[in-house]
Subunit: 357 residues, 2 copies
């Protein structure tokens, strides 16, 4: 039986995935040299499609990494000489903070319990913090930081760098890259592709800082920003990249552009509304994130009365897979991914089956 | 027209690639959670197949990275507190050395021109070097360091770590992991898979050193050895891995095991002999690597009288792709990959067509 995955990543593959994969294989793109014009054209196609989709200006490069977690490290190496500051409200924002400590930076944090979020006005950024690390979508708790709050935070601290983790929400957040220095995501979430590729959007201002830091401290050796940037000017990567992942990402981004990103965002909001309305009303379920303004549109979290593992098991017999809670909430919560790969009809079917339990 | 790739990576895909890819898609493995038992079984399968294929003892973990270049960085972070030592005879051994400098280590080197190799007896290892970095197969020049010389080098310096870059030769070299602390390769070379995955074989002794260094210096934050190791004990990875790449690698390694690694090695040597014999005798071609003992079995390099680009172009009309020289030798050399994905018959056909030029 073919399953529909409502899991927050790896997730349901985008409906066009198989056809793009077939074209990749038929055209023998797995064998082409990563120093050939054929590769450079492929690379440029993906960058151009992402640039259109996410409205990324030429001041920012779009770079490829092995995973989004790698972006945490490369951002810290590139923008933080001594001190970083992190908004922590779940496991993934916490990991960004942990990475900074592991690199022997002085990492400050403003921490809140899972399920809570941040507004710009309440945040006091430490004076010497060079980077403000935000998480647009905390995959572990289903909390989003409204884009307007991220922009406001930067406007209050224009001299500092701001980074946006949009791993499990891109292309949903409409970021203004005049205000966002760097952002990153991975392809196995809302882009509906197999894992193994991270995308790093990063400004020339970050590059300058990386070059400055390099005079004093190591900024790493592998995929360091100046080398990545230089190669990207030529539509190449320093090491042999995940050509298949880059190709598939370009084709799915093209599909998204054909639909129009605003339509994708609207459908995301529509499906999220259906799911939240159901959770609010259905006996046995309740909303984990109390404040509507910070509820994630892409990872919907519900508290459950019965064991979530039982619900997951029953829903699987109906051909659908949903995620458990994260960490300590594993057995008492469900996480339902709401990515473009799952349609309104499939979402309605999931709600119907959950309602029958 | 379907092409046969004799390029040194990305290279010809292994004949069973498409069937394994089809199974991956049909079983929806691109959507499974990387924290599920299903993933752990898949991960373990690949590790077990590689362990058998390369005869890796339990003292060594088999870990997954985004690329083999990432392994350079992680090995340096893990085994070098202050000083490393590099045998440099081409572009890739040089990059390992460059990475050490970029991490602000004190990097020593013993350098020879491209086309030359090393014997253990001529190597003087600096007293305080903690790591000896060797390159089994220098992809840029077609020089191999005989395995016996690598082993001898370690026997002379048992207290130091020895690393073996076998990016473009594994599973050909029959390394003795009682003498090799760490080795690494990528999948787009002799394993005949799309790029995007590096494999890092590393001993518990390296782990202990990484834990020791961590008390003093940063050993990086992403894919640091202690975290990778801990996750590997549970057949997991710290970040979401390239599940597709890991699956395909396990299946191709299983195919190799079915054939038997000694048969694969014998066929590699047979095909290499055919190619070298042709280059030696054919007018218009000559051997770049003069010393037979260090001629690569997997990347065969020929000097050409005519422009190599012309030869490459003509051979492409016959349905075969061969590589140009590397860097400064781009226009005067050919590099012909000799990996398991290209058969004896295909090799003979290439030789036949080259002979007709």
């Amino acid at each position: 039986m073919s399953l529909t995955f409502f899991t927050p990543g790896p997730a349901q593959l985008y409906p066009t995935f198989e056809q793009h994969l077939k074209a990749f294989v038929e055209n023998q793109l797995g064998s082409i040299s990563h120093r050939s014009q054929q590769y450079r054209d492929l690379h440029k196609f993906t960058v151009d499609q992402l640039r259109t989709l996410l409205d990324v200006p030429d001041s920012h490069a779009i770079l490829f990494l092995g995973s989004a977690s790698e972006a945490w490290e490369r951002i810290l190496f590139s923008t933080v000489e001594l001190e970083s500051f992190h908004l922590v409200n779940g496991s993934f924002s916490k990991k960004f903070y942990d990475y900074s400590n592991a690199l022997n930076k002085y990492a400050h944090k403003f921490e809140k319990p899972m399920g809570e979020g941040f507004t710009a006005s309440e945040i006091e950024v430490p004076e010497y913090a060079e980077l403000i690390a935000t998480t647009h979508n905390e995959t572990s708790s289903g909390v989003q930081m409204p884009v307007a709050e991220i922009h406001k935070l930067k406007q209050r601290h224009p001299e500092k760098f701001i980074a946006v983790d949009m791993v499990s929400s891109a292309p949903y957040p409409e970021l203004d890259y005049n205000l966002v220095d760097t952002a990153f995501f991975s392809v196995q979430k809302a882009f509906g592709l197999p894992a193994g590729l991270g995308v790093w959007i990063v400004s020339e201002r970050c590059l300058k800082k990386a070059e400055y830091i390099r005079n004093q401290y190591s900024i790493g050796a592998h995929n360091d920003l100046p080398t990545l940037w230089k190669n990207a000017q030529n539509n190449e990567t320093p090491a042999t990249p995940n050509v298949m992942g880059i190709y598939l990402l370009g084709k799915v981004a093209e599909d998204f552009n054909r639909i129009g990103v605003s339509n994708i965002r609207k459908e995301t909001e529509h499906k999220a509304e259906l799911l939240y309305k159901f959770i609010e009303q259905a006996p046995g379920f309740s909303l984990f994130v109390k404040d509507k303004a910070i509820r994630s549109q892409t990872v919907i979290v519900a508290d459950t009365i019965s064991l979530s593992a039982d619900i997951i098991k029953q829903i699987k017999t109906k051909g659908m897979v949903i995620g458990s809670g994260y960490g300590a909430n594993k057995s008492t919560q469900l996480r339902i991914a709401n990515f473009p790969a799952t349609s309104v009809e499939e979402t309605e079917r999931l709600i119907y089956e959950l309602g029958k339990l």
